[in-house]
């Protein structure tokens, strides 16, 4: 089958099954919609159902083309038998002709631009790395794998389940086209919302503001999920508005499912669940009617969609909210320090000198915060005019609620979930000035078109560049296009060719793993990977090498347990121990299999302080806090008189004390502080480090051209024990011998 056909089939089949499921769901609940609402809301109502079905198939390891095809065909057949393929709703009042003449050609033009981009080879940063990288892994494994080395695998992946369904037939571009379907459905729903509630022109203008917005066009035509999440949030809002209008309790079922699907799609969209529950309770309370049942229905339906991800994470990662809340749910898979650094990184983008730059950055420049919503939104204060109308107040409240998570990640695309509400509110505020509104729609469209956009936004703004119709239809080959436009692709293909199947590659920088079947371990994406990165950096950073010997001496005693306790707190550095030795009369006690080792925090790595390797160390992976300890239990009282710790120098402010417990378990302080001597760096540290990586099951190392220590690998491959397995564009792939 020609590639373009398989791409289109994958996307169309997925969208059709979503539509059919939505139509079935709404029909079973006897929920009527207007003609203009039927397609977008049925698609959005069916998406969570298909996502849940794919989740169950993935959990049962039944991800096969044939299973998807059979299931999809059965759903379509069921809908057909129920005559649900026919649109039967009443029509809403049409828009004035002048509005149609203005908006329809613009929507068609941008629709073609977006469709071509979505269908063109996928090369978005996140889409080609983890969104589709993980989808590809699930597809190859015929279902979920317990991936503990990839923090993005721990996130909820509701939309990615739909991508997986599409990917089975058309691979990467089918997934991106499914995302585009959400964009089209959202714009259509915004128009429908305006029409239903009596402000059709504002609905059209608001949908235009949103649909033409550059970052929306960029994001919604790749395998990201922000626009899909925005569509799902808006559908919750929309269905609750219909429920409020009709008070038909059956609307709470799809609204609840969609609210839960918000969480299942992106953690930051969890607000849809309390929003829906509070909205329903408040409306019923004001009407002096019982509200508990309505809230319970919403909660139950939402939980149905959330539970699979919560349960999966609890069972696999010991943390239902992984990769967050690791302090509350300690686990061996994500370090607390990573979570802190990640959150900090998301709140502070490089290239942004001050928060005051955000308005201009997100509207006009588009580089530092990755994308722009368009200069139109510099008129944001005008939206306050919408406060005069009830729907305006509701839209602005939703803007505030769903925009409140923006502070957690100030990238432009994190404005997208709130943008539909804000766009409608802005349009509602100005729609009485028809000429001005029409002029703004037209100006926004012109300013958002790629050729114009290029003239005023930053040269490195995240934006669409041109209409990629040759690439979309694969007249220009995918491989050729990606090799010449997407440097990471060639690296992924090099790995595919040079690394045997089943092998893992350790790297410090993300690569488009969606284009290789080899497992990629990025050092910051999991605790296991971070330990490997720490090992690899130890030979390169003198402060990380075990050159401090701390010795506790105390009167000889028979002790059952020894514990080194850390007393300092409030400092960002981590506590670490490379080697923990126990001595008596000048000789080290042999480490017996009967010993038991404990540590707090990070107990899972305590063995790294007792493995006789200077290349590894136990680390707290948390800032210094009083009460941290590393303990050895000998199983029986043994004569001891000193403890020796070999430590890295990069922990200037640790304050250690040695405690011991006798046979009865009575603890006492043995030494209030250690003496310290300087050690020479261990010999052969590079080789030892490389061997540790190999012992961990990783035999390949990818080093990018600008990475720390790159020159050392180039100059001293023999000392590391590395062989060059391939090189492209300054990126070097090494095999650990």
């Amino acid at each position: 089958m020609p590639q373009a056909v398989s791409i289109l089939f994958g996307a169309a089949f997925t969208v059709a099954v979503c539509l059919a499921l939505g139509r079935i769901l709404l029909a079973r609940l006897k929920l009527a919609l207007y003609r203009e609402e039927e397609l977008p809301l049925a698609f959005l109502a069916g998406a969570p159902v298909l996502s849940l079905l794919v989740f169950l198939l993935a959990a049962a390891r039944l991800v096969y083309d044939g299973v998807f095809l059979a299931m999809g065909a059965a759903v379509l057949g069921w809908a057909w038998r129920q005559r649900l393929h026919r649109l039967a709703g009443e029509r809403l009042p049409p828009l004035p002709r002048s509005w149609r003449l203005l908006s329809v050609p613009l929507f068609v033009l941008f629709g073609l631009l977006y469709f071509c981009h979505a269908m063109a080879p996928e090369m978005s940063p996140d889409g080609s790395t983890y969104h589709l990288g993980l989808v590809g892994r699930y597809y190859r494994a015929h279902g979920f794998e317990r991936i503990t080395t990839h923090m993005y695998a721990n996130l909820s992946q509701g939309v990615e389940m739909l991508y997986l369904f599409a990917y089975a037939f058309g691979r990467h571009s089918s997934a991106a086209l499914v995302h585009f379907a959400f964009l089209a459905a959202l714009a259509s729903a915004m128009v429908g919302y305006g029409k239903r509630f009596g402000f059709g022109a504002a609905g059209f203008a608001g949908a235009s503001f949103f649909f033409f917005s550059p970052v929306v066009g960029m994001d919604g035509t790749t395998a990201y999920n922000d626009v899909a999440v925005a569509a799902v949030i808006f559908s919750v809002f929309y269905m609750l508005a219909i429920w409020d209008q009709s008070r038909n309790p059956a609307w709470l079922v799809p609204a609840g499912l969609l609210a839960g699907f918000c969480y299942a799609s992106k953690y930051t969209a969890f607000l849809a669940v309390p929003y829906a529950m509070v909205f329903a309770a408040w409306k019923l309370h004001r009407a002096r009617r019982p509200w508990l049942r309505a809230v319970a229905v919403l909660a139950a339906c939402a939980f149905l969609m959330m539970a699979p991800w919560l349960v999966r994470n609890w069972l696999w990662f010991d943390n239902p909210f992984s990769p967050f809340f690791n302090r509350l749910f300690p686990n061996p898979y994500i370090h607390v320090s990573f979570e802190q650094h990640y959150a900090e990184h998301m709140r502070n983008y490089e290239g942004l000198a001050s928060r005051w730059e955000i308005p201009l950055e997100v509207t006009v420049r588009g580089a530092a915060l990755c994308g722009l919503i368009g200069p139109l939104f510099l008129l944001a204060p005008l939206a306050l005019g919408a406060l005069r109308r009830p729907h305006g107040r509701r839209l602005l409240a939703a803007t505030l609620i769903f925009g409140s998570t923006y502070a957690a990640n100030i990238g432009t695309r994190f404005l997208i979930p709130a943008l539909p509400f804000f766009s409608l509110a802005l349009a509602l505020a100005i729609v009485r000035l028809r000429t001005l509104t029409a002029a703004l729609v037209l100006a926004h469209a012109v300013l958002s078109w790629p050729d114009v956009l290029r003239s005023y936004s930053h040269q490195y703004a995240w934006r669409l560049e041109k209409v990629l119709w040759r690439e979309a239809l694969r007249i220009k080959s995918e491989d050729e296009f990606l090799r010449s436009n997407f440097p990471g692709y060639a690296v992924a293909r090099l790995i595919e060719e040079a690394v045997p199947a089943g092998e893992k590659v350790l790297t410090f920088t993300q690569i488009p793993e969606a284009y290789t079947s080899r497992e990629i371990l990025v050092v910051y994406q999991g605790a296991f990977n971070e330990n490997l990165g720490d090992v690899l950096w130890t030979p390169l950073i003198p402060e990380a090498q075990p050159t401090r010997r701390l010795e506790f001496h105390f009167p000889p005693a028979e002790l059952r347990r020894l514990r080194v306790v850390q007393k300092a707190s409030g400092f960002v550095e981590h506590w670490s121990i490379a080697e923990f030795r126990v001595l008596n009369a000048g000789a080290e006690l042999a480490r017996s299999p009967g010993w038991r080792l404990r540590a707090h925090p990070n107990p899972w790595d305590v063995q790294r302080a007792f493995d006789a390797s200077p290349a590894t160390r136990w680390r707290s992976w948390q800032s210094l806090a009083e009460g941290m300890f590393v303990e050895v239990d000998f199983g029986e009282p043994v004569p001891v008189d000193s403890v020796q710790l070999d430590c890295a120098a990069d922990q200037w402010r640790i304050r250690l004390e040695l405690e011991g417990a006798d046979a009865e378990g009575r603890w006492r302080t043995l030494a209030a502080a250690p003496s310290e001597t300087h050690l020479e760096a261990p010999p052969n540290l590079r080789r030892l480090a490389a061997l540790e990586i190999k012992y961990a099951g990783v035999r390949y190392l990818l080093i990018h051209e600008n990475e720390f220590g790159k020159d050392d690998y180039v100059r001293r491959p023999q000392e590391w024990g590395l062989t060059l397995a391939g090189e492209i564009g300054g990126k070097r792939l090494y095999r650990i011998e």
Binding site: F329, P330, E588, L597, A599, P601, F610, D633, E680, L688
Partner: protein, 174 residues
């Protein structure tokens, strides 16, 4: 209200374990693994042909009087043993009078795979013999075994060369 409270407490209790899990000591790494595969070797005289292949650090490449070599601060060797039980580590060396005059008594700490085997203080010059049984668990047959002697203090010559002791032979004997 009570069931909700209990559920919340249960949730927190499940998340926040009181006692950290305990683990036995792991497989002990051999620093010598870094040196690469070698033929079995349990004993080494400084004038053995190809002896340099078994030096890791701080052993002079110059063979003096066709018999001995100067050590630096931490002469380190590697061996590959066929077995690990019933072995003693021994080392023959000489404390140099000229060095002793400059440094005073020297203390030599002997390490097997980074574990301290023994520590001896030498206040007089002349030939010395160190010998001590090694715990079998410290040794891994077929893998490189790293042996080091940490000498403190050493004499540092005006041109920066550190001289420790005069090395004659070292290795494992039964």
């Amino acid at each position: 209200m009570r069931p909700r409270l209990l559920a919340a407490v249960a949730l927190l209790a499940a998340g926040c374990g009181i006692d950290p899990p305990a683990y036995p000591p792991p497989i002990q790494r051999s620093a010598a693994a870094a040196a690469g595969p070698l033929a079995y070797r349990h004993f080494l005289a400084m004038n053995d042909p190809g002896a340099e292949r078994f030096f890791v650090r701080d052993v002079s490449p110059a063979l003096e009087n066709n018999t001995w070599r100067w050590s630096g601060q931490r002469p380190t060797f590697r061996f590959v043993l066929q077995k690990n039980s019933g072995l003693k580590f021994m080392m023959d060396f000489s404390v140099a009078g000229a060095v002793l005059e400059k440094t005073g008594p020297q203390t030599v700490s002997f390490f097997i795979n980074d574990r301290l085997l023994g520590r001896v203080r030498y206040a007089t010059h002349g030939e010395q013999h160190f010998e001590k049984a090694v715990d079998p668990s410290w040794l891994k047959p077929g893998e490189n075994t790293i042996v080091a002697a940490e000498i403190r203090p050493v004499w540092e010559s005006p041109n920066g060369v550190k001289l420790g002791v005069i090395l004659l032979r070292a290795g494992f004997v039964e």
